[in-house]
Symmetry: D2
Subunit: 364 residues, 4 copies
């Protein structure tokens, strides 16, 4: 019962807490023979760090990752890889005091589940800080996919605060997503998103949004139906990112309003290979990749920490109280979630590529 483990054949175990000594991950199942150093991981971690962008938390972490095991002479050995990212800029003072759950956070459910023994500082296990470990693990999975199969995973900010990027973005535009602090490849939309964030911040409030991810070059045949489907495993993994409230593939919820004749992706031969004219399926049919781009979207709720008084309950006395959340927080996490979504997609795709044999156990 792997409560903290993602993947079957490539397995990522996430350790650590927001205000503890570290966050980290164990990757088991990476094939032997992959060239690997911290230099393969650090750049992606840096993309997740709170930047100087106005929507970001003032917490400053250098996020220096170290690879502690599983690599010898610059290559993976087939042994588990332990990744370590120390926590540095910790201020736990806002989390002392009686147990008053912050609305929208996991404080209440964690308190119930763990009998009050959970580490509440900074959200403990439920903090977005844990996604640093996911990103570090994902960077390795993505390198594996890229090196062995030529797979490319591109996530970007599709929507923030109701402002949506253009629907006709080209791949080249999307590839430049990290040039924008909001990770939105549509500059006009990015400007309006930025304004919306500014207005929310001024009101002590927060925003949500939608991240879209596209995986190119995924070979057909990944996915293990009828339960370990590729879409099901991607969805489950995406829900491990704090704040996600919905996941859809291809046409997604809009497909529910199409007719079969509109939604079906018809087949043609192109360059000697079977492909579909449209991609309403998002690259997955029957839980198995069909060789077209995998397309998914994840809906993020607005950040739960707002600077507006809210009603809550003191759990040890059952008194109703008014709570004003302190601590340092993002106004909108969607931009920082972009590399996290890429990481999660990379882990799941690499797991399934290993399961199906598309990636071998040893790289020779």
């Amino acid at each position: 019962m792997p409560a903290n483990e993602l993947g079957e054949r490539l397995r990522v175990t996430i350790v650590g807490e927001s205000h503890g000594r570290l966050v980290g991950a164990v990757l088991d199942g990476v094939p032997a023979g992959l060239e690997l150093s911290e230099g393969d991981v650090q750049p992606m971690l840096d993309l997740r760090r709170p930047g100087r962008a106005p929507q970001s938390t003032p917490r400053r972490e250098s996020d220096r990752v170290e690879i502690l095991t599983g690599v010898y002479r610059g290559r993976t050995t087939g042994a588990p890889i332990l990744l370590w990212i120390p926590n540095e800029d910790v201020d736990s003072s806002p989390y002392e005091g009686p147990p008053v759950p912050r609305p929208g956070h996991a404080d209440y459910t964690a308190w119930i589940k763990y009998g009050g023994y959970n580490d509440p500082r900074g959200g403990g296990r439920f903090s977005g800080r844990l996604t640093a470990a996911i990103v570090a693990a994902g960077a390795i999975a993505l390198k594996l996919l890229r090196t062995v199969l030529g797979v490319e995973v591109l996530a970007y900010t599709l929507e923030i605060g109701g402002v949506r990027a253009r629907g006709d973005l080209t791949l080249d535009e999307i590839r430049r997503r990290y040039e924008d602090p909001l990770r939105c490849p549509d500059p006009e939309a990015a400007r309006r998103m930025s304004d919306a964030i500014e207005r929310a911040r001024a009101a002590g409030d927060t925003l949500g949004g939608v991240v879209e991810a596209i995986a190119l070059g995924v070979p057909p045949g990944l996915g293990e139906p009828i339960i370990d489907t590729l879409d099901g495993d991607l969805a489950k993994a995406i829900f491990a990112i704090p704040g996600v409230k919905g996941v859809e593939f291809g046409a997604g919820f809009a497909a529910a309003r199409l007719r079969g004749s509109e939604n079906n992706d018809q087949y043609v031969v192109e360059g000697g290979r079977v492909r579909t004219i449209t991609n309403n399926s998002g690259g997955i049919l029957g839980g198995i990749s069909n060789g077209m781009p995998i397309v998914l979207r994840a809906a993020f709720k607005p950040v739960s920490s707002i600077h507006i008084p809210q009603r809550s309950v003191r759990l040890d006395t059952m008194e109703e109280v008014t709570l004003t959340v302190r601590g340092r927080h993002d106004v909108c996490v969607v931009p920082r979630a972009v590399p996290v979504v890429e990481a999660v997609v990379g882990i799941v795709l690499a797991d399934h590529a290993l399961r199906s044999g598309a990636i071998p156990s040893v790289l020779r």
Copy 2:
């Protein structure tokens, strides 16, 4: 690597094919001591059967379930329970001939993945027929939840072909969902859905829709973050239902457009228990149930089998061809998916109730 297994502590393995001898399920992990007979399973299976409703396939299956193992003197023994539902009304003639994948179906991806050895008759493993086995297993999970914890799971048709039920349905109205052939508790919407189905049928076309599920009485504390979250496991399981393209919880995708102050569910004390004023979270925070109703929605794409010519490719020769799908099919599966969604939700909730200890290993 349980490709065909759902759940950790309560584990459902799905066997069978659409046109083979049977579909069935093995349930492992049901506590010893639960009263159980076919009479607990058959009624729910009957709700999934294609009725005389106009949207349904003409395939006629009596769907008589038998419990073959794991029960002794009318009670579960703790041993695996094998459920068997014979296939009776099989006509495989439309599935003979060269391999030409039907758009929207899993034909192409299955052919690729299994090297052409998959059973193509009626979609084989990828047929909606397999959901009969899921419903049978789910009926037992739901009985367990109901008996031990008083949990009630209510799914219903929220939307078909763009027609949406009223947003203010009462629980009493929803409890009468099965009185309507479309499983929609809003009679006015049901009428318009029915018209939409009639129009689609007349055009040889098909419709999709949305099923909403509500689980009442779920104790707080179910879910095993940070990976085996309750929402993640529910989502993964829902994607095992053929045709699902999106899953959302509570406010779902709409939450991405709310501000934190609108979306946060504030806490109050009611009847000595903590509860939230609103339920935008859909009863899950940080991957753990909070004691409020679990609310989720699943988007179903339109049925892939349409009576309109489509482009496809003959896979053994790579010729482009025009295909007109034969076989017997539903115009819209959403009404028949309603008990399937209930079953899936029941299996996942029972699994997590066992994992957390809320349901014991032996019922005494």
Copy 3:
């Protein structure tokens, strides 16, 4: 938590009870494309049947296996394979009456664990009858190993009632093991074993013994240390056979009395391949096969059902009683365990061959 499942990549789930309607197995993970019919399974099942040999139970089962799912046009499809062996010759009358555990059987522990709800008839889930399902599943695993890798698994009776076969048996002699009713390839030892069985029967008593298994042609590299070792997984699986009390590999317990210089298997090159001069390791080093024959031995305790009065306790009243076991039983199960050990070894080896990629997901 797969309480009734054996294997990761090839997964066998065992269903049924001794006196229920059937025993059976679900095999998940068999590659698509393997030719398969009942004719591949029945002969091995027949080897496990109680014969006319004097040590065997008088229970008469025809043990006709049916393959119900997962095969299409004579080949596996990649879907789970459901095997069914109906129970026919059931007489449950000795198992009615108050709960008085038979010494040596699982009656007491099952009663405790399942709160008295377990099926006690014929030992229920704990009966040797369940090994029929293991043998059926194993026959398929062994065919897979033989067909794809040329692996051959040979088990035989090494010892019964203290009588041990010669230590210098040739492979050719061992290959004729099934010509002897006791499955002992040393005719002189077999005669003395037979005498020992006769004496035990006359005394209303029972015997145990040792089965040795040899697997030839196993490629080097199977096993997933440091936990899912090949020897560890074999040992665990062997302990699933009723009556096993010890497992050893190669020199086994005797190795504990050797010096390193005696026990170490030194390396040479033979026919262009690395091999060891001796095989004290039993073909496994560090949990990984080394290309030499896998050699293991399993110790079976004497059959627990004896016709001699024994002390026991009536569990519902806690009265001490004297019990004389009724029912139909073997005097010594070792001969019938021989194909069971082969089956178990086959399942574990096939599982690891799939895990390491030595057997592919699809046979082309």
Copy 4:
């Protein structure tokens, strides 16, 4: 496919290499609320350290363990616990040079399996050094068992180099096992074992032996047959300890030579509880604990590193060579394996106690 993970409900993942930066473990599934600090782990680790005893390696490691995650205010939180033991006294010089497998070690099989990419220094993943991580994890499992259930696990040296301890040792004698450097509670036998070790050392040779483990206070009902049996899971875990070639329970291999009437453990009532007069079963029937002491024995082969020239093969050129093993090694690891066996038994028992509900998810 958890290649490096032990346990289902309590899961231990082992990381690190002999000559890398650390060995460590992640424990997932420890209930929230257990008091825990390094002081609970260090003493057991110290028992495993190479002492000044003559049979031990000269490698000197301080083996200071740190608990890095999962503990807050002195109690477990329900989150994964990361344990870290730095490697300090590393001399990798003997492991440079061409790949020539040392007989008896995993060098050859690791080289084959990981395509030559495995870390060969000090045996890499296959070193006894990894057992430090197992002991650290086991110390926590044992504390959990002791605190919640009153279980006590006692392993000791039963046999070294053919010298066997008395068969009538009392529990009090066994409890003093760690007073002897060989962990043998029979002083007379310990003296002769010590002589045998001295003679082997003088010859440049090594010895093996047998460790017996007894678990007292184990509640009846642990074990999840018919596959995840308590004996099967114990056996598998024991085989993860380097050098183990055999495992047996209760009467073990000797049971194969007993008659049923001798081997069966008859039931009586004692102090209001059911118990058996003898304990030939070793406390496990049908894969489930029966409340009697669990008794198992593990056979260790002699240490593979001997100072006597041996034949081997240079794997990159396939030349036959003569090898004299360098490096620092024990003459007999059995004494140091004693706490390792206790740790492994503790992990498996705690896992099953959690699976059965005997230990709850939260300690209140």
